[in-house]
């Protein structure tokens, strides 16, 4: 009974703390500007099934896709056993799912095989990250200190959880064997391990309990570690993919407020809608053009930041990054999360990336006023982007780094007039000549002068 009470209290505490943390993340996401993402439920559902549940975009790279699939399927299936643990913990039953009979055999056997595969996959993941020359996309200025440690903590925790599971099963199995009872379920891995365990019933019982408690407490702790970690993607990927942009990737967002201004300029009779008013009826401060800080980005971009697993697929396909420029789309997404957590609600563990000379950053002294633009993302990064959409295409969870880049470029150009000079020349060419080059508009049709074609006799027959 005492165990049940302790378990109940832990369950309530872990869930409560998790809900409290989720509310903070939700609040952070909604400091972003409004954007209507409603409608198209059928298309969104299909995308979520394919991209989020089906991991469609992961399979561009086979090795990590298969490793990740093992951990993902392992997570889902082993969670069925967690359900059993929760019910057992609350009611004091032992392996209550045993009523499934042969189904329980299948479930336990699948669990154990997946558990072993998860350990192997995690070892492979660790090796890809920590060997002398790691996989290239798992390196970079944004992937040191906390992000690097975070990635390894996740791997270690996964091994610990699996070890606890096997301890529990093996001890339980041996306990049944020494007392001559039949253990419900089939345990292909634990049955190999029973030889390693002592034969004393008392010790086995303790080991079984230790494994059981370690597994569930580990899960409670991990659950509450997620909001501080890139591993939060296991939850937020689903809404993030659901709220993907459904328009062609080449279509950039339209700035409504500018449309009103331009329409009013071209047609004096055009009625510009009144500015937004606060709840008390007073006019709100006009919003800036583009984004200087996180609250200037659409809320979807902030949800993007919370969905990032820092896998670096975006950066590894970025033509600017590939050719040695400063731009790394992953850094912009990670900076966005760091900044929103610095300025608004922080998670339990908060170690924002600090950059130095290697990222061409001035030392930041005034953290509170170090906006996303310039405080974390430098104009040099932004101007290196070719808007080629390779990063958008590559992201397995449909993050759009390009949208944030364009929003910050808009701020640089429209609010600060801080475009590179050559681009200012291009702008004035468009304004004056209707073309980005300095050609006279009256020469625009010269290409048609002296244009000849060879008449084909058989043209009619070909047609």
């Amino acid at each position: 009974m005492l165990e049940q009470i302790i378990f109940f209290l832990l369950l309530v505490a872990a869930s409560g703390l998790f809900v409290w943390q989720i509310r903070k993340i939700r609040a952070n996401i909604f400091v972003g500007r409004p954007r209507d993402m409603s409608g198209n439920a059928a298309e969104r559902f299909k995308k979520t099934v394919l991209v989020a549940f089906g991991q469609q975009k992961m399979f561009k790279r086979l090795t990590p896709a298969l490793l990740h699939l093992i951990v993902y399927v392992g997570f889902i299936v082993i969670n069925v056993e967690v359900l059993e643990i929760v019910v057992d913990g609350l009611t004091g039953t032992h392996r209550f799912l045993r009523f499934l009979g042969p189904g329980y055999d299948v479930l336990m056997a699948t669990n154990e095989i997946l558990g072993a595969l998860v350990i192997l996959a995690v070892v492979a993941f660790w090796w890809r990250r920590n060997r002398t020359q790691p996989v290239r996309r798992l390196t970079g200025v944004e992937l040191r200190a906390w992000p690097k440690l975070d990635a390894n903590i996740i791997l270690y925790v996964e091994v610990v959880l699996m070890a606890a599971l096997f301890t529990m099963n093996t001890a339980d199995l041996k306990l049944h064997q020494v007392s001559g009872e039949t253990m419900p379920g089939t345990f292909p891995i634990s049955s190999l391990l029973v030889g390693l365990f002592p034969s004393d019933a008392g010790t086995l019982h303790v080991l079984e309990r230790v494994g059981w408690w370690a597994h569930i407490i580990g899960i409670f702790l991990f659950l509450n570690y997620l909001p501080s970690s890139k591993h939060f993607h296991i939850i937020i990927t689903f809404p993030n993919v659901w709220f993907s942009r459904l328009v062609p990737q080449g279509q950039f967002s339209n700035v409504e407020s500018i449309t009103h201004e331009v329409k009013a300029m071209m047609d004096p009779s055009y009625v510009v809608p009144p500015p937004a008013v606060g709840p008390d009826g007073s006019a709100l401060a006009p919003t800036s053009f583009g984004a200087k800080d996180v609250e200037d980005l659409p809320w979807t971009s902030l949800m993007n930041a919370y969905s990032c697993t820092e896998c670096g697929r975006c950066t590894s396909v970025c033509p600017a990054n590939l050719t040695g420029k400063l731009l790394s789309p992953r850094k912009i997404i990670m900076d966005t999360r760091d900044r929103v957590e610095e300025k608004y609600e922080s998670p339990l563990i908060f170690r924002p990336n600090m950059y130095g000379a290697e990222a061409k950053h001035e030392p930041v002294t005034d953290l509170a006023n170090a906006t996303l633009l310039r405080g974390k993302v430098t104009p040099e990064e932004l101007w290196a982007c070719t808007t080629c959409n390779a990063c958008v295409e590559s992201c397995p969870v449909n993050i759009n780094p390009l949208e944030s880049i364009i929003e910050m470029r808009r701020f640089l150009v429209l609010e600060e007039s801080a475009a590179p000079n050559s681009l200012n020349v291009m702008f004035s060419n468009i304004e004056n000549n209707g073309a980005p080059w300095a050609f006279s508009p009256s020469d625009r049709f010269n290409w048609a002068d002296d244009l000849f074609a060879t008449e084909k006799q058989q043209a009619a027959t070909v047609a």
Binding site: N254, A384, L451
Partner: protein, 301 residues
Amino acid sequence: MSPTTPAAGEKRQINVPVMADLAARNESPEILFWVGCAGAFDDRYKRVTRAFVRILEHVGTKYAVLGLEESCTGDPAKRAGNEFLFQMQAMQNITTLNGYGIKKIVTACPHCFNTIKNEYPALGGDYEVIHHSTYLQQLINEGKVGVTGGESFKGRRITFHDPCYLGRANNIYEAPRDVLAALDADLVEMKRSRANGLCCGAGGAQMWKEPEPGKKDINVERTQEALATLSGAAEALANLGGVETEKSAPSRHDLESSIIAVSCPFCMTMMSDGVKHEEQESRVQVFDIAELVASAEGINA
């Protein structure tokens, strides 16, 4: 090796029909050919514009151009963050296009294509917009262009460089390849192709500025990949960054008379500059797919 070998037949001067004249006669064209700034001003891409007009004339499409009334779509301004200038340009063009009641637009520039197709509707410009690669594909499929009677490309090595604003931006990958396939040439794919294609380095207004400091220019990186693909230099393709669509190593081949095919004016500039940088311009040429079709059809003059 230039695809301008004239075929047997009469030379005929083309008077390109201008929309204002058609409107004055109360006529409307089947399609409006949106030339674009590069197509109108860039010496190299003017040849593409002229090749495409020859094709339009050859198949007897009723077309027109805006001529002096055309203005920049605003694409470079929008990608550079100058939304205000973009919308000014867009509204001006939409006023012109709507004034003529234009329904269908064909353009040889993926940037104009993307902007008019995807970004003009929010500002009141709704048109059916077709990129010239799709249009050429249709002409070939309908048998209106036989790609015969002119220069033969049989056996020549051609690799196609995907423009970002046609490919990833609008999911058009097969149309230009279908056009090239009709040439009966030896098509080879770069490892980074289709959705995994590497940008030429010109998009996002990079065309008008110096690149940021780095180890290499993007167009050089891409051209080296194209040249290694054409010559089958497998070792040069061993350590490419990014995701690879093509897994197999290409076979060894002489670079002589190979072609890098493009379907975007900026890719044309970047790839041509890249070929010059690699000092291969005497052996490898960069052509737009419209030039290749006009040449194979034997309608150049």
